[in-house]
């Protein structure tokens, strides 16, 4: 299994040079605008701004964005169908009414806009930058360290999962339901033991280097950009003004 598409996009994005705090402000500002303002035109505007920034200055390749959007799309479609279907007031069975369709369309637009705004942050900011920012914002050192280790180890484990699964597939480990369950349990057990083995080896290595409990890494210094913040406030003001003006 390869690295998550969004992580690949975030490391390559030219927007990495901006401060994570600035991008969190923009992304959360757009998410909250999409949530609290009327769905039309706020959700449309938020979606357009977020996708425009991801594909434009963020330079995220469209195929990576599409790959990342497949997961939330499945939930959004299923959830929207559940809202669109309602129960008959007379008789029995499900039906679709104009009221339920309006509610489903409104939720769909909120969800698409909100997901696009989160994708903007995710596709332009590597996790390590966000963790360093969280540390500077006062999140406990131990929690940030555990999150950082989780991030670093998950790529090793994803590679292990991929290697073990390839070997199982080559040995016809996924040809029947029974074999699949047996192979999946072997895969989970192998992953757990490899995770612990990696952690122990890392511990031994760190102990040899005089590890004293704080695992800071040198990162790129990204200071806040006044022009980025001005653009953020201008975009959010535009969304609010157009939405309230139209509504």
């Amino acid at each position: 299994m390869s690295a998550p598409a969004l992580d690949t996009a975030a490391w390559a994005s030219p927007w990495r040079r901006y401060s994570p705090g600035d991008k969190v402000l923009l992304s959360l500002g757009l998410v909250i605008s999409a949530l609290v303002l009327p769905p039309w035109p706020a959700s449309g505007l938020v979606t357009a701004i977020a996708l425009g920034l991801i594909l434009g200055p963020g330079r995220v390749p469209p195929h990576l964005l599409l790959r990342a959007a497949r997961g939330p799309a499945a939930f959004i479609v299923l959830g929207t169908v559940s809202i669109a279907i309602t129960w008959r007031t007379s008789g029995f069975g499900p039906t679709v009414t104009s009221e339920s369709l309006t509610a489903a369309a409104s939720t769909l637009s909120h969800a698409v806009a909100g997901t696009s705004a989160v994708l903007l942050l995710a596709a332009t900011t590597p996790m390590t930058d966000l963790l360093s920012w969280a540390r500077r914002r006062g999140v406990p050192e131990a929690v940030v360290d555990v999150a950082g280790l989780t991030y670093r180890l998950l790529f090793v484990l994803l590679e292990s999962v991929s290697a073990v699964r390839s070997a199982q597939t080559a040995r016809l480990g996924y040809t029947s339901r029974r074999a699949t369950l047996r192979s999946a349990s072997g895969l989970a057990a192998a992953t757990l033991t490899r995770a612990f083995d990696r952690a122990r080896r890392l511990e031994t290595g760190l102990a040899g280097r005089g590890f004293e409990g704080v695992m800071r890494t040198v990162g790129e210094q990204q200071s806040s950009s006044r022009s980025f913040e001005l653009w953020t406030f201008a975009s959010l003001a535009l969304v609010v003004a157009v939405s309230l003006g139209v509504a």
């Binding site: 939330p72 509610a103 555990v146 999150a147 890392l202 511990e203 102990a207």
Partner: protein
């Protein structure tokens, strides 16, 4: 079943975040205390978090013909205990939101409440209850994994039903609709995840007894030994 960004109204998102906060803060305190007392444990906790994330890359067969992935909440609860899972689960949910676009930022509280808090506590409760009434370790593991999966699915459906009441059936009608639609994948997944858990612990008892001992799960080793002895005796007879 992660609730996508923008799917919950602002008040609901805030309320679920407030409901999850005490558990996550308690979990964070447990992690901070554990790391202060044993600095090396942060590496094991990091490994546990990565393992929980990677579980979502393992496919399980589903009755509908498709495949799905385990939630890992029950397995995590039995292995690492619910308070730690509240913290680790929230970190994993944040990673899933930002690395896989599963879930969201304003829905993080609601997702943490169902997947990192209720799921692990229900699973761990079932595991302890089975142990208290003298049922086998394997029954406890099956109950923990399948019930934690079902509890997560029920809580998510309640969260969605409360946020989007049905125009005619109200909140209860809406909860019923969400339960009905997601049941198609979640009920077979709960059974498959229960079976997966039993098989995982049987393998771990064989290949990783030290890890199980360090996690306080000697019972898995004892019962696995008993089963092996019984099977050998039957073969001999």
């Amino acid at each position: 079943m992660h609730i996508a960004e923008g799917y919950l109204p602002p008040l609901h998102a805030a309320a679920w975040t407030l409901a999850a906060a005490p558990f996550v803060v308690h979990g964070a305190r447990c992690v901070v205390r554990e790391v202060r007392e044993r600095p090396e444990s942060r590496l094991l906790l990091g490994a546990a978090g990565a393992f929980t994330f990677v579980l979502s890359a393992i496919k399980l067969p589903s009755v509908t013909g498709s495949s799905s992935h385990p939630t890992g909440t029950g397995l995590g609860a039995v292995l690492f205990r619910p308070p730690v899972m509240a913290m680790l689960g929230t970190i994993v949910l944040l990673f899933q939101a930002l690395l896989l676009a599963h879930g969201g930022l304003t829905t993080l509280g609601a997702n943490a409440f169902s997947m990192a808090i209720v799921g692990p506590w229900v699973g761990y409760g079932a595991y302890r209850a089975c142990s208290a009434v003298g049922l086998s370790f394997w029954v406890g593991v099956f109950a923990a994994l399948s019930l934690s999966d079902l509890a997560t699915y029920v809580v998510t459906s309640v969260q969605l039903g409360l946020a989007h009441p049905d125009p005619t059936g109200g909140v209860l009608g809406s909860i019923g609709e969400f339960l009905g639609i997601f049941a198609l994948t979640q009920i077979p997944l709960a059974v498959a995840e229960g079976l997966l858990g039993v098989l995982v612990f049987r393998i771990l008892a064989r290949i990783a007894p030290e890890e199980l001992r360090s996690l306080g799960l000697r019972k898995a080793l004892d019962e696995n030994d008993e089963n092996t002895v019984t099977a050998t005796a039957q073969e001999r007879d």
